[in-house]
Amino acid sequence: MTTAQILSRARQEKRKVLTEIEAKSILGEAGITCTPTVLATSREKAVSVSEEFGYPVVLKVSSVDISHKSDAGGVKVGLKNRAEVEAAYDAIMTSCRAYAPGADIEGVSVQPMARPGTEVIMGMTRDKSFGPVVMFGLGGVFVEVLKDVAFRIVPIDGNDAAEMVDGIQGKKLLEGYRGKETADKARLQEMLVQLSSFVDATPGIEEIDMNPVFAYSDGAMVVDARIILSEE
């Protein structure tokens, strides 16, 4: 489905939160690389999709009613074969039904396990006065505890994006600290500009989280994404 179709369907269904698959499809259309993610509505489909991707894979519950997937026991990572996928599928269904009994669960999303990279976060939110703003930071503890992030007002240009990436306290961690893989800053900057252009051109989006994004020495990949729509 195209971005326009996804947005109009969510509106019709009076949903504010898009599913991970919808979010990634929209970001993909905006030029932002995401891990390929496919919906499986049955255990058998989960297995066939996994075999197509190749192991290991990740299964996540796909439900518009469950936004905290991990809390619901709805995320299983590093699944290495058919048996593990089948078991994970059953475990996710059981756990999520118990966690949210009335939830409408459409199945699981299946995606190949991304090669670990430097974890970063990118996002967007809206300010009453400044309108949409974009954010960049290091992922995990850096964003959650230290709030080491940089914001800019949309629209941003390449210069702004470069200042964002170089503007965080922990930028050394992007530069191959202690022998770690360096992060492709140019691609991260480009993704920020793509994110900015997308939200600038697309009304009705309230918040976006791309978290985590794995940054590699050659490119970067959005591993999980969330899009929240504005009140109409």
């Binding site: 504010k16 939160v17 936004s67 976060i121 996002g123 967007m124 939110t125 300010d127 009453k128 006065s129 400044f130 309108g131 703003v133 954010m135 964003v143 959650e144 709030k147 992030v149 940089a150 914001f151 800019r152 007002i153 949309v154 941003i156 702004d160 200042e163 503007g167 309230e206 918040e207 976006i208 989280d209 978290n211 969330r226 929240i228």
Partner: protein, 460 residues
Amino acid sequence: MMELFFKPRSVAIVGASGSPGKLGYVIVNNIKGSDFAGAVYPVNPKADEILGYKVYKSIAEIPGAVDLVITALPTPKMTVATLEECAQKGVKAVIIESAGFAEMGGEGKVYQQQIVDIAKKNNIRVMGPNCSGIVSRDIVTSIYPMTKKVPRGNVVLIGQSGLLAAGMASDIVENESLNISKVCSIGNKCDVNENDLLEYFGEQADVDVISMYLETISDGRNLTRITKKIAAKKPVIFLSGGRTEAGAKAAMSHTGSIASNAKIVEAAVKQTGMIMADDFTELKDFAKVFSTQPLPKGNRVAVITLAGSVGVNVSDLCASHGLELPKLTAETTEKLKDMFDTPVSNPVDLYFSVTKIGFTKTLETTFPDAFRDANIDAAVLILAGFEYTQEAVQKKIIQKIVQDVGKPVVVCMIVGYNKYKHVIMDEMGKELPVFPSLISGVKALSKLCQYGMRRQKLSA
């Protein structure tokens, strides 16, 4: 459109008064004291003449066209009625100085909305309410008595709070501490907001520096767009009040929960190249530095001192404010070898030179030699309040050197305030940026260097 506010050909003051001390009197008196050469029409149903001007009973009664109406009326209701009269008359610019509108909530908000509606319908631009309008050479609409003429300077000050802006304007003009051109207070910003003024001042060739204080940001997206454009040509110094760390809303994303208003304002400052001031003194002080000093090409600073301990402190301050203290070139070191008991270093300690050739001569020769050094972009000059400092100040030696060398300097005064504050701070402060503390001078210079480097980068 903004020209009607700043260069009106005729002005009416509704609520003008003949009793000294009343706001309606101060405004008329301030206009009288300015260079305003157009027609002045005080409006008051109960007076015949105020300060030599013929008084009119109503706006309708005024014979000619009126470019600008200023209102200082006791009730919001009367103000709304006046705006209706302005619409009838065809007035296109109104400054509403009275309070009692949106800032009071409740009924005041309703009255303000009525004003907005009338203004929109009739294409009237409204400044205020709850403001003091404009302080300039050509017209003063403020409620704060002015004692001297406003200079035709190169700095404009945009403020929100009427009394504060008017008070600052009065101090600045009285003390000649800043080469101001206009001070403008926009109060509740029911129509004319900071973006209108920024666009106007951004285009004015005689405005070199814009200094702005806001309690609320009317339209941050446009503010970002406009200031980015202006800051590429002229410095915009910005003090933002009411920044909070609390998130603006209950967010569903990480991004939304971290995005506090303070962080977004800070982002806008970085993105646009504005210069962030942290208090009203800095708003004025930074404007002083930016309006009097050339832009440095980098952040390499020479610290000029007469006491080692002071130099150490300033070095530390420079380091924490992103300024570097490089070594002087071998050439300079060689040239100055007789003026120092040990090879010249940075901070440049002039003590030996002063004992050898005296203070004035040292300032005239040793200081400029160090200042001219190819490794140096700017200087912090520390002056102590001593008897011998007076001569140098009176001869304007420092001003001459700064002009001659073409690099920026900030002067920091240390000790001797009781006796020499008026000489160093007040007199020299009319021309040069002189600070009462080391940290304030270093911080101001760091802002200048930061901005200078940004401009270098932009033009590269």
